[in-house]
Structures are given as structure tokens and as C-alpha cells.
């Protein structure tokens, strides 16, 4: 019913190609997250699905209906905007009921559905307030509530948490996860925060320049990135990429390996003479729970290392070791070499 199929979907603004042929299948009830660098077309893709942008070429299906030319309101999707887009002149109740009213849902039914959504989102006490009287997190919930009342088949979220402060973001993230669990709807979620992507997604779609780079579960992307771009994009601090020669100390490399990736958290500090690689600590950044070391390798590259306990002084010489299962090998084209342990 509410699966989603994209076939060679394309979008041009004037002569600029923004989406350059995207194929994607989203199963009913799946939580899909779009990530990618700024300007890669995440929002555009989402807006094409919602119908706010028209499709230049390709086919877009929701369920088994081609919806390329169907009006947004008739596609059975609901969208939560980054800015929430709450109507400032309506109170919470009317904001949530607005779409139903426009669609001429009778009053009592409308009341019922708003009340239901409000209960679900713990908004009961706020129904009479106006958006300006709400905190960021509350607004966000109202925006979701507005989406819920229409009983959409598919939920679309465009960076819904990016306006919140760090703490609230963590909290709302888990609320959205809980919501998905309860409703079981198909959800498509755009973010540029990869922690959000990792924690929420059933399936992550990594976009770059209007093309899909990789589709997979968070764990797949973290553990087996298809290419250097995905490898560096997923995970924070980002993966160290060393030329094959500099990384020779880590052990055997598959044929054709041009560079080797290793995540900062997978490196450990040992005495300089016992390390697979060695170098000098340039800066240590203490963050409480862990420290981030910038290590200048003897081969010239700088390598980031995350360590938990006490960190060596700046300028100290250190050795680095890594488990071979944590190494990623990439060919000259940047694609992962899968033959060795893949």
C-alpha cells in the first residue's frame, strides 16, 4: 500500500541537473534516511516525492500508483518541514486540524483525530497555545502532529531537528524513533547529521551530486562503505584515509589497493617502537570522556585518533595499531576492494 518506488528520477532547474537519475525502493513501513553533503539534492528529492517539485523525468510511484502529476495533497504523504511551518495565526488545535478542515472532514471526526494525535504526542495541554508560545521541541511535535492527523501513507521529514539545540535534538531523535515504532508508517527522513541518520534509519541512502552513492543499513555503511566518499561521510570524527604506501605497516593489502581507511576510534596508542605506524602527537583535544589526538605520521600524513583514557602530551612520539578487520581498502577509483575480507 505505501511502499515507494523511484525509477530513474530526474530533476532539472533550468539547465542545472540537480537529481540525475535516482532509483530507489522503499518498502512499506521502512524508515529511510537521506544523507549527503549540502546541496547534493536531498531536499529536492524529498520535495519531488511530496509533489512540491514536479518531476522532470523518470517515474515516481507511491503504492502502485504513478504519482508524477498528482497534486501534493492527493498523494497520501505528509511532510514535516525543517522550520516546522506552523501557521503562526492559528493555535495548536487549528494548526493540526487545518488540513482536515480544508479537506472538509466533518467537525466531530476532526476533533477526534486531533485529540488522538495530541494524546500520542503529549500535546493535550498545549492545544490552545499559539506556535510562538511553544518551545522548539513542542513546535516540532505539533508539526509531527499535523502530519499524523491526515493518516498519511508516507511521512516525509526534511531536517526536522536541525533548528533544535544539541540536547533537545538528542531527545527528539528518540521520540521520533518511538513514534515510528508505534505508527509503523513508511518514513523518509532527510538530515545532514549522520548521528541522526545512524540512530534512526532502517536504511540509509547516501546522496552526492544528485546521485545515490550507497544504500544500506547503518551498520553496513559504517562497517562496509562502498567507497571513500561514504567511508568518510559516515562516522565522526571522519575516517583517516592513508595512501597504500603509508599504511603498509598495517599488513597485507589486496591487489590494486590505492589507499587504506581506518577510523580514529579503531586506532590505539602504543609505545612508538611497538606501533604498526608511528608518529608525533601534534595537538590533543581533551573532551572529557575521550581525547582526540592529531598525530603527524612519519610518512607525512596527519591521522586522527580517539582514545578513552589519559592521552599523551603534545609532541610525544607514539605508535599506532589497528585490528585488520577494521581496515578498509580502496582502489584508485575510490571504490572499496571487497575481495580480501568482504
Amino acid at each position: 500500500m505505501s511502499s515507494l518506488t523511484l525509477r530513474n528520477l530526474q530533476k532539472r532547474f533550468g539547465r542545472v541537473e540537480v537529481i540525475r537519475g535516482v532509483d530507489l525502493d522503499v518498502a512499506d513501513g521502512e524508515f529511510v534516511v537521506f544523507v549527503g553533503p549540502s546541496g547534493c539534492g536531498k531536499s529536492t528529492l524529498l520535495r519531488m516525492i511530496s509533489g512540491l517539485e514536479d518531476v522532470t523525468d523518470g517515474e515516481l510511484r507511491i503504492g502502485d500508483r504513478v504519482v508524477n502529476e498528482v497534486q501534493p495533497a492527493k498523494r497520501g504523504v505528509a511532510m514535516v518541514f525543517q522550520s516546522y511551518a506552523l501557521y503562526p495565526h492559528l493555535n495548536v488545535r487549528d494548526n493540526m486540524g487545518f488540513g482536515l478542515k480544508v479537506r472538509k472532514v466533518p467537525g466531530p471526526e476532526r476533533e477526534r483525530r486531533v485529540a488522538e494525535a495530541a494524546a500520542l504526542l503529549k500535546l493535550d495541554a498545549l492545544l490552545e497555545r499559539f506556535p510562538r508560545e511553544l518551545s522548539g521541541g513542542q513546535r516540532q511535535r505539533v508539526a509531527i502532529g499535523r502530519a499524523i492527523v491526515g493518516h498519511p501513507d508516507v511521512f516525509l521529514f526534511d531536517e526536522p531537528l536541525s533548528n533544535l539545540d544539541a540536547e533537545l535534538r538528542v531527545h527528539m531523535r528518540s521520540e521520533i524513533a518511538a513514534l515510528h515504532k508505534r505508527l509503523g508508517n513508511t518514513m523518509i527522513y532527510v538530515t545532514h547529521d549522520q548521528v541522526e541518520a545512524m540512530t534512526l534509519a532502517d536504511k540509509i541512502v547516501v546522496l552526492r551530486d544528485g546521485l545515490v552513492e550507497q544504500v544500506g543499513s547503518p551498520r553496513e555503511l559504517y562497517e562496509r562503505p562502498d567507497n571513500i566518499f561514504v567511508a568518510q561521510f559516515i562516522g565522526s570524527p571522519k575516517m583517516n584515509i592513508l595512501p597504500a604506501a603509508s599504511a603498509a605497516g598495517f599488513g597485507a593489502q589486496p591487489a590494486g589497493t590505492a589507499s587504506v581507511g581506518i577510523r580514529p576510534e579503531h586506532l590505539s596508542i602504543v609505545a612508538p617502537d611497538r606501533g604498526q605506524l608511528s608518529g608525533k602527537v601534534v595537538i590533543t583535544e581533551y573532551t572529557g570522556a575521550s581525547s582526540l589526538l592529531h598525530v603527524a605520521l612519519d610518512s607525512g600524513e596527519t591521522c586522527l585518533v580517539v582514545i578513552d583514557g589519559d592521552s599523551p602530551e603534545a609532541d610525544a612520539r607514539v605508535g599506532l595499531v589497528a585490528a585488520s578487520k577494521d581496515l578498509h581498502h580502496f582502489g584508485a577509483d575510490g571504490r572499496a576492494q571487497r575481495n580480501l575480507h568482504g
Binding site: 509533489g51 512540491l52 495533497a73 501557521y87 488540513g99
Partner: protein, 283 residues
Amino acid sequence: MGSLTQSQLRLVKQVCWTISLCIVAIPFVFPFLWMISSGLKGPLEIFGQPSLIPTSFRWNNYVEVFNYQPFARQYFNSLYIAVTVTALTLFISSLAGYALARLRFAGAALVALFLVSALMVPEEVTIIPNFFLIRWLGLSDTHWPLILLPVFGPQGIVGTFLMRQYFLALPKELEEAGKMDGLSRFGIWWRIALPMSRPALAAVAIITFLNSWNLFLEPLIFISSLEKFTLPLALSNFTDPYGSPLWHLQLAATTLAVVPILIVYLMAQRQIIESFALSGVKG
């Protein structure tokens, strides 16, 4: 001076500023004081030795103003015409401004260019053909030309542009949310875009209202019946049957015409300034 702290220095500066502002304000304020005072004088006293305080207050001037010509009716004419023009301009220019700012269609840039060129053409240029046009439409000596010309003339275009600028700066998401909620385009404009563009609407309303309220050339040309006069015409019409001005009545009437607007302005001044600031009149 050395002993003054920064905040004391600031205070001294502020006082100097305020005093110089007061001096600059004299030519702005004085005409009003003089007008109000003279509107309470007798016809002889106006020509006598200048003094701001009338020797006796002739409140009767205000009664005579209404006896002399249908001043209440004329006042009402001005008011209803200005309100109508304002309402129509708001309606039309916000529709057009919305389309220019928000809708994608071939020729949008051309239309905008076309309209903007109109801003540079003084009304005087087109007044003569418009005179014949109005005559041909059979609308001479009616209020129609006073409504139609401002609404569709350069003034209306100014409104369209103010609205367009404002809509351009307005976040799109609300309207898109409306679209997702199933609103028609008209519904989006009416129920979302308009309620959010109050500052711009206010700015357009103020400019349009003042323009209509002060319109002089058009009424001079198109209106001939006394009871169809608007205020600016009526004000220049306090003459005796032989054409001599009746200054005391004219000034009393002028006071009546100005003071209400001033009071409204005073009450709304903050919103007025803010609406100009917010609506991007700055260009």
C-alpha cells in the same frame, strides 16, 4: 570634561541632540499649531497681528464649515474612496505580487520588467488620454476615476512591488505546508500568504491611503459636483460666492481634515515604521 565618565558624556550628548532636534522640528510643527489656532480665529483676526492664541475662540467656524458646503459628505467621500482604493489595491497588488514572487511561469521576468517601467512614468503623462477614456466610459463626474486610476496606475504597481519583495523574503514552507494540506492556490494566498504578510500589507495600505487621501489632480479634473468633491478639492473651495477665500473656514476645515489622520498616525506610528522596515521598502 576629563572628569566625565562615558555614561555622563553620553547623557550630555543626548541632551544636545535633543535640543537640536527640537530646533529642526520647528518648521514641521509650527504649521500645525498655526493652522489649529487660525481655524479658531475670526476672519479679521487672521489678518491682524500674528499671534498663536486667538483672542476669542470661534468654535462656530467648525459649524460654518459644514454649512458652507456639504463638508461631511465630502469628508465621507474622501474616506470611502481612500478605503476602497486601499482595499482594492491591497487585493490586486497582493495577488499580482504573489504570482510574481511565488509562481513559476514563462514570462515572469518580462511581466516584472514591464510593470517596473511604469513606476517611472508620472501620472501627468497619461492624464489626458485617461481623461478621454473616462469620458468614453461615461464615468465623468463620478468617483470611479478616483478609484480606478490610482488602483491601476503607478501607485498600484508600487503596491505590487512591495508585496512581491515581501513575498520573496517570506519562507516558502508555510505555503508548502498549506499545499500539502490540500489548499488550492487561492486558498494558500488567502489563508496563509496574506495573514503572514501583514507588515507589507500595512505598508502598502499606508502609502495607498495617503496617496488617495491627498489626490488632487484627478479630482480637480474629473469631479465637478460639489457633493462629489473630495477633501483636497473641498479645502481649496472655501471661497465666498465671488471667489475670495474664506481663510478662517478653510483653516478650520483643514484642521478637521488633518487632525484625525494625525491621531491615527500617532497611535499607529510604531507599526508604521516597523511595517516599512519589515516590508523591505528599502529596496
